[in-house]
């Protein structure tokens, strides 16, 4: 267990520019990766990006660290000895809404789908360029704070049995709060901001995941599935998040 603190003062101009956005708030990243070299390299890179990095070699170690010093985001290798990444994903999800970014060796196999189903918010393919990982971390962190940029609709909306409080970032159904992961919440907020309007998967990837181009539409599909499981009466016959075949998804009409 190694702990790297971010560089303190603004020591170079170049780096200050990169970290400008999170000045005043050092985000804590929990990195779970079994390969020593990759772990060290990513630690180094993330630390230089201005994050506080906790690095763990195994899943068990990672969960321990997670309890000791709760991070803002988890970067998780799927292929781990002992407890694998999917199991860790599920455990983190049952405990709370911590954002998770998976590290995967391949980008078009079952691992990605399984990881997304286990509750991961996003994924990157190894070898990953530090600035790509950094962009994904920032995007997922942005989802945890603040509502969508367009401030139009009233802070509290009712859609059928569903109540969405955009100011408090709370969703409740029949008055009961619904626990949503940040990405799920963000997806629901984006879709419900324009009820009845169809958003394509690529649009949603740009809005929610901030992928600038050609994101993996499986991210959207997996997240929609998880969201439906939480807010729909019957996930097989969704009312709130409807699929428009050939186009994308739409909130309502109820």
């Amino acid at each position: 267990m190694v702990r790297h603190e971010p560089p303190r003062a603004v020591d170079t101009g170049a780096r200050a520019l990169g970290s400008a956005e999170i000045v005043g708030h050092v985000s804590r990243v929990l990195l779970i990766e079994d390969d020593r070299a990759v772990r060290t390299g990513l630690e180094l890179a993330l630390t230089r990006q201005g994050h506080a990095v906790d690095a763990a070699e195994t899943g068990e170690q990672g969960l321990e660290l997670l309890r000791a010093t709760p991070p803002d985001v988890v970067v998780l290798d799927l292929m781990l000895p002992g407890m694998d990444g999917f199991e860790i994903c599920r455990r983190i999800r049952t405990d709370g809404d911590l954002p998770i970014i998976m590290l995967t060796a391949r980008n078009d196999d079952m691992d990605v789908v399984a990881g997304l189903e286990a509750g991961a918010d996003d994924y990157v393919v190894k070898p990953v360029q530090p600035r790509v990982l950094e962009a994904r971390i920032r995007a997922v962190l942005r989802r945890t704070g603040g509502g969508p940029a367009n401030v139009g609709p009233p802070p509290v909306e009712r859609h059928g049995d569903l109540t969405i409080d955009r100011a408090a970032l709370m969703v409740s159904k029949h008055g009961e709060p619904v626990g949503l992961a940040p990405t799920e919440l963000r997806l629901l907020l984006e879709l419900s901001a324009t009820p009845g309007r169809v958003l394509s998967r690529q649009q949603l990837l740009e809005l929610v995941w901030e992928h600038d181009y050609l994101g993996d539409s499986r991210l959207v599909d997996a997240c929609v599935q998880r969201l439906r499981a939480k807010i729909e009466d019957d996930s097989a016959a969704p009312v709130y998040i409807q699929t428009v075949r050939g186009f994308g998804y739409r909130f309502g009409p109820l």
């Binding site: 060290t40 060796a105 980008n107 070898p127 530090p130 993996d216 050939g246």
Partner: protein, 497 residues
């Protein structure tokens, strides 16, 4: 002219072995039966006719011997009638003729064959089978001779011997006509029996042929089934071996061959799979250290500015080459995924124009590439793979071709064509067939370029994974053009999002 006889040609040309067997057996059966029955028939007929003839000649000779001595010539009508009467019997009728007179009776000598009469007139004893009123008859003709009264000119059996000196012809001719109908009937019965024998033989031959055919054809059919299965790629196909004959030998040989083939193909496949797995494993093994190296390239890039001289250049070199190596390993992994058949499509409805623009934008090529992309064309594609195809083609055109590089889409009724062209000299004819080969370098002097050498191969594999293809050609106006053909099932050109 070739000398093959028609029967052999017929047998050889007959479609199936079964037909040939049937025809051969039938021919054999019928010809044997025909030969046996025919020889039998001819012999029996000759014997019957010979016997009838002998009897008739003997009878008439005996009767002539009983005649009273011939009186003066010419004989009176009464004498002629009497002679005719004495010579006629139950089965035969005789007529006595002397020059232009004859005995009274139904038998008219003018109806007898002229040659016969001439021969008798010359003193020869003659018999001939003729048809009278449609009935077969035997006619015997002779001349009574003077001298020893009543002796016929010749003993029966001889026909053309000159008459002996003891007697001389009397010009009194005797004709005896005897019906051969009973004999004819016997012969007809014989013929019928011969035909029947033939027919029975034919039926037997056909039956035998069918039985033999089944015995021979069943193994042949079994062999054909096995061969077909083998031909269709089922290397486990084996023929069932029955009996110990030559066909069983053939089946055994076939099975041995198939077994050897299966073993060899199995070995080859195993070796190929091992080779592919090796490439995949190597690529994946390379990936982990590369992941660590890639993670720190930014650190190297940052620090390189501050490192003195050589150290800075070395740091930049390591960083740059790490990126290239990453690209190469990623491409290798991509290729090995196609080779092992594990590449899959993640289909989505893609606005083609928008996707192509995004690809160009993301790589900073928007200003260097001309586009002609009709709006609102939606196709069901794997967007990541479309990006790979377009990025590889455009990157290739920018590196090896000359401006202007252009991307155009053409919507066809059943497919979508995406053309990536450039304004360069085009592809040399000897390069064109190899342009999609892995690590193919058109210019050997330029040993290494920016690309991995796998880009075009990967682009084509991606197009094919969609059920489409990628082709390379030169435009008449100059410049190379790569065309991606992608099928568009169920999509209409007017589709919009």
């Amino acid at each position: 002219m070739n000398s093959v006889n028609p029967a052999a040609r017929f047998l050889g040309g007959a479609r199936s072995l079964r037909t040939r067997l049937l025809v051969a057996f039938a021919l054999l059966g019928v010809s044997t039966a025909a030969l046996v029955a025919g020889v039998d028939y001819v012999q029996a007929r000759d014997i019957i006719l010979q016997k009838a003839q002998d009897t008739a000649v003997l009878t008439i000779t005996e009767r002539i011997e009983t005649l009273p001595p011939l009186g003066d010539l010419p004989p009176s009508q009464a004498t002629l009638d009497e002679i005719a009467g004495r010579l006629s019997g139950r089965d035969d009728t005789a007529v006595a003729v002397y020059r232009d007179r004859r005995s009274v009776g139904r038998l008219d000598p003018d109806t007898l064959p002229r040659e016969l009469r001439r021969a008798v007139g010359e003193g020869i004893v003659v018999w001939q089978r003729v048809s009278m009123n449609g009935r077969p008859v035997l006619v015997i003709g002779t001349q009574l001779r003077l001298g020893r009264p009543g002796r016929p000119a010749q003993p029966p059996g001889g026909s053309a011997l000159p008459p002996g000196p003891a007697t001389q012809p009397s010009e009194l001719e005797i004709y005896s006509v005897r019906s051969l109908e009973p004999e004819q009937q016997s012969i007809a019965r014989l013929a019928t029996r011969a035909w029947l024998t033939g027919a029975v033989a034919l039926v037997f031959a056909v039956l035998l042929a069918v039985l033999a055919g089944r015995g021979v054809l069943e193994p042949v059919r079994e062999l054909r089934r096995a061969t077909n299965r083998l031909g269709e790629g089922d290397l486990t196909a084996r023929a069932q071996i029955r009996g110990t004959d030559e066909l069983a030998d053939v089946a055994r040989t076939f099975n041995n061959t198939a077994e050897t083939l299966e073993r060899h193909v199995g070995d080859l496949r195993r070796m190929e799979a091992e080779a592919r797995r090796f490439v995949a494993d190597v690529s994946h093994e390379l990936r982990t250290p590369l992941a660590a190296m890639t993670a720190v390239t930014d650190v190297l890039d940052d620090e390189a500015q501050r490192l003195p001289g050589d150290a800075g250049r070395a740091a930049r070199l390591v960083s740059g080459e790490t990126h290239k190596l990453t690209r190469l390993v990623n491409d290798l992994i991509e290729v090995s995924r196609f080779d092992t058949g594990t590449a899959t499509l993640a289909l989505d409805d893609v606005d083609v124009a928008e996707a192509i623009r995004a690809t160009l934008r993301a790589r900073g090529w928007s200003d260097r590439v001309r586009t002609d992309l009709p709006q609102g064309v939606v196709a069901r594609l794997d967007p990541r793979r479309l990006d790979v195809i377009i990025a590889n083609l455009v990157s290739n055109a920018l590196r090896h071709g000359a401006p202007p590089v252009s991307v155009r889409t053409h919507v066809r009724p059943d497919r979508l064509d995406i053309e990536v062209g450039d304004g360069g000299p085009g592809l040399a004819p000897d390069v064109l067939p190899h342009v999609f080969n892995r690590f193919y370098k058109a210019d050997t002097a330029r040993a290494r370029s920016e690309g991995s050498g796998l880009g075009l191969a990967i682009a084509r594999e991606n197009a094919r994974l969609h059920g489409g293809d990628l082709t390379a050609a030169n435009r008449p106006a100059g410049g190379a053009v790569f065309t991606v053909h992608l099928p568009r099932p169920g999509s209409e050109p007017g589709d919009t999002r």
